[in-house]
C-alpha cells in the first residue's frame, strides 16, 4: 500500500514530516510518496537510514504557506503539494493522502479532487471528545455550521460507521445532543431530526444532555458543527487551564515527576485530538487524513497509521453501504452507484 504525504504540510515541514514518514514506512510496512520540492525533501531524507523502506519523492515546486486563504491559494497554485498528493489517490497511484495543514488546504483538496460520497456535501469532522468517555464520539465538530435534519442524520451514519469500524462497537448507540431527554426538547433542528432518527434503522436512543458527553450513555452524539466547534475549542482550553492551575497547586507539594505525570494524564484526557494525532476526513470519497498543523514526527507517523487503517477497513465503502441502508429505510433517494 502506498500513501501520499504532503511533505510541506504543517509547522515543522519538511523536516518532521520526512522523519515521521520514514518511521511509518518501517513501522506499518507502507510505501511512501513524499510530495514537494525535491531540493527541500532530499536533504532531510539523507539524514536518516532509509534502507529497507520504499520512499519516493514526487517533485513539485509549489506548496501552501500559513496565512494564505487555502481555497484561494489552491486556485493560484495548481501544482501545490497537497493537491498533487491528493491527485495520486484519485489516479489510483496511492491508497490514501496525509496532510498536516493548513487544514483548509487538506479539506479543499479532498473536496476538489476526490469529492464527497454522494448525498453528503461537505466533510464531517468528529471523533472521541474526552478521555473520560473513550467510547463516545461527537459529530460534527466544525465542518458544517448550519445544518438540516437530514445532515444531522448523515453525521449519525458516519458516526455509526466510525464507532463500528474504529472502536469495534457492534451496534453503536446514537443520540441527539439537546437540552432535555424528551422528544419535544431542543431547538427546531433537533426537534425535527428526532422522528427522522427514530425511523432510520440506527440504534437511536433519543436526546442526551450536556453532562452525557461524559457519561458514556451514547456512543455517537450528534450536534451541528456550530455547537461542536464551540465545545471542542472550549474543552481543549479548559483542559489546558485546569492543568496549569493544578501544576501551580501541586508543584510545592509533590515531586516533579508526580506532578508532570498527573498533569500530563489530564492534558491527554482533555485534549484527545492532540493525543490521537490526526484522522480521516469523513464523507470524502477516498481516504484523506489530516494531522494538526503543529504535528511533530510522532504525530505524522500516527496519522499515516490511521490512513493505513482507514484503507484496510474500507471506511469509504462501509459508509456508502450504511448510507444506502438508512436512506432505504426512510424511502429517501439512494445515491449509491
Amino acid at each position: 500500500m502506498k500513501i501520499a504525504i504532503d511533505a510541506m504540510g504543517g509547522d515543522y515541514a519538511p523536516g518532521e514530516v520526512v522523519k515521521g514518514s520514514i518511521v511509518a514506512a518501517r513501522e506499518y510496512g507502507v510505501d511512501i510518496a513524499l510530495v514537494g520540492p525535491r531540493q527541500k525533501i532530499e536533504p532531510e531524507l539523507a539524514r536518516y537510514d532509509c534502507s529497507g523502506v520504499n520512499i519516493e519523492v514526487v517533485h513539485t515546486d509549489q506548496y501552501l504557506v500559513e496565512g494564505e486563504h487555502p481555497a484561494y491559494a489552491l486556485r493560484q497554485k495548481r501544482q501545490a503539494s497537497i493537491l498533487v498528493a491528493t491527485k495520486l489517490v484519485r489516479d489510483g497511484k496511492a491508497a490514501a493522502v496525509v496532510g498536516a495543514g493548513p487544514t483548509g488546504g487538506v479539506v479543499a483538496s479532498a473536496l476538489g479532487v476526490l469529492g464527497t460520497v454522494e448525498g453528503i456535501s461537505r466533510p464531517v469532522v468528529g471523533g472521541a471528545f474526552l478521555g473520560f468517555a473513550p467510547n463516545t464520539i461527537m459529530m460534527d465538530l466544525g465542518g458544517n455550521i448550519d445544518c438540516r435534519p437530514d445532515q444531522l442524520l448523515d453525521f449519525a451514519i458516519v458516526g455509526t460507521v466510525f464507532a463500528r469500524k474504529m472502536l469495534n462497537i457492534d451496534n453503536p448507540s446514537v443520540a441527539l445532543l439537546s437540552v432535555g431527554a424528551e422528544e419535544g426538547k431542543g431547538n427546531e433542528v433537533v426537534r425535527e431530526s428526532y422522528p427522522l432518527f427514530q425511523k432510520c434503522g440506527l440504534n437511536f436512543i433519543g436526546n442526551v444532555e450536556g453532562y452525557d458527553i461524559l457519561s458514556g450513555r451514547a456512543n455517537v452524539i450528534i450536534c451541528d458543527g456550530f455547537v461542536g466547534n464551540i465545545m471542542v475549542k472550549f474543552v481543549e482550553a479548559l483542559g489546558k487551564t485546569i492543568c496549569r492551575w493544578l501544576e501551580e497547586r501541586l508543584k510545592d507539594k509533590l515531586p516533579e515527576n508526580d506532578v508532570s505525570e498527573i498533569v500530563g494524564s489530564l492534558l491527554r484526557i482533555t485534549n484527545v485530538a492532540d493525543a490521537a494525532g490526526g484522522g480521516p476526513l469523513w464523507a470524502v470519497n477516498g481516504v484523506s487524513c489530516v494531522a494538526h498543523g503543529r504535528s511533530r514526527a510522532n504525530e505524522i507517523t500516527k496519522t499515516i497509521g490511521q490512513a493505513k487503517l482507514a484503507v484496510e477497513l474500507d471506511l469509504v465503502g462501509a459508509l456508502k453501504a450504511e448510507l444506502a441502508t438508512a436512506r432505504n429505510k426512510l424511502n429517501m433517494p439512494t445515491y449509491q452507484s
Copy 2:
C-alpha cells in the same frame, strides 16, 4: 425591606429554608415573609432564636411538589406558596421573592404574576460561568432555546446591566459566541446579529470562540439558550468528573486536608452556580430570585442577600433604561412606559 420566601421550595424545605431565612434576616437586616403551611413552618421557627428579627408567616396550605409539571400544577393550585409569595411582590407587600425550586415553578410564577419587562418575552438565565474567568458572564443559559437576533441583543443588554451593576465593570465588553472571530463566521443567527450588535451602542468587540470563555476577553458572552444550556451542563459534569479523577490520583500522595482543599477549590471553580447560590431571574418585571433545589440554609441565606442587592441596585429599572437606550440607537420601538 421585606423579602417573601417560598418556605416550601427546594429539597430541604421547610427546615433549611426557615433556618437560612432567619440568618439572612439577621445578617442583611431584612424583614422576612415565610409563605407556606403555618403548621409546618412554626415548629421550625420554634427551634431557633428569632429575637430581634422580623419574620412573619403568610399561611397557605398549597405548595408544589417535586415531579409535578410546574406550569400545570400552578393552574390547579392557585394558592401555591410560590404563587402567593410572588403576589406579595406584585401587590407591593414585599420587595422581592425567593424560591428554591422547582425552578419551573419560580419561573412560571414570576412570568404569570410579575410578567417580563416590555419587549422581552421570557426570563434570561445567565451569570458567571467559570471561576477562571470571574469577570465573564454568559447569557442565555437555557431560558430561550431558538433565538432571533433581536433576542440575542436583549441578552446582551441584560448582560451589560448585570456586569455593570453586579460586577462593577464600567463599560462591559460584549461578544457573540461563534466559530471564528471574523464578522462572516457563525451560524445564521450569529451572522445576522453581528451588524445589529455593531449599531446598538453597547461595547461590542465582535465574535469570540470557545476558548475565549476562559480567556476573559469579553465580559458578556452571548449565545442562545440551546448552546448555553448544553455548555453549562457539560462544564458542571466535567468539573465533577475531573474532581473525582483527581481525588483518586492524589489520595495516596497527599494528606487528606490538602486533597480536599485542592479538589474543593476546583469544584467551586467549575461549578460556579452551585458556589454562588441563586440569583435573579433577569428580565422579569420585579425581583424574583431562584436558588438551586438542593440548597441548604447557607445557599438560601446567600440568595436572599442577592435579592436584597437586586432591589438596592434597582436592576429592573437599570435594565429598562438600558433597553430604551439601545432600541433608540437602532430606531427600534421603545417599549418603556
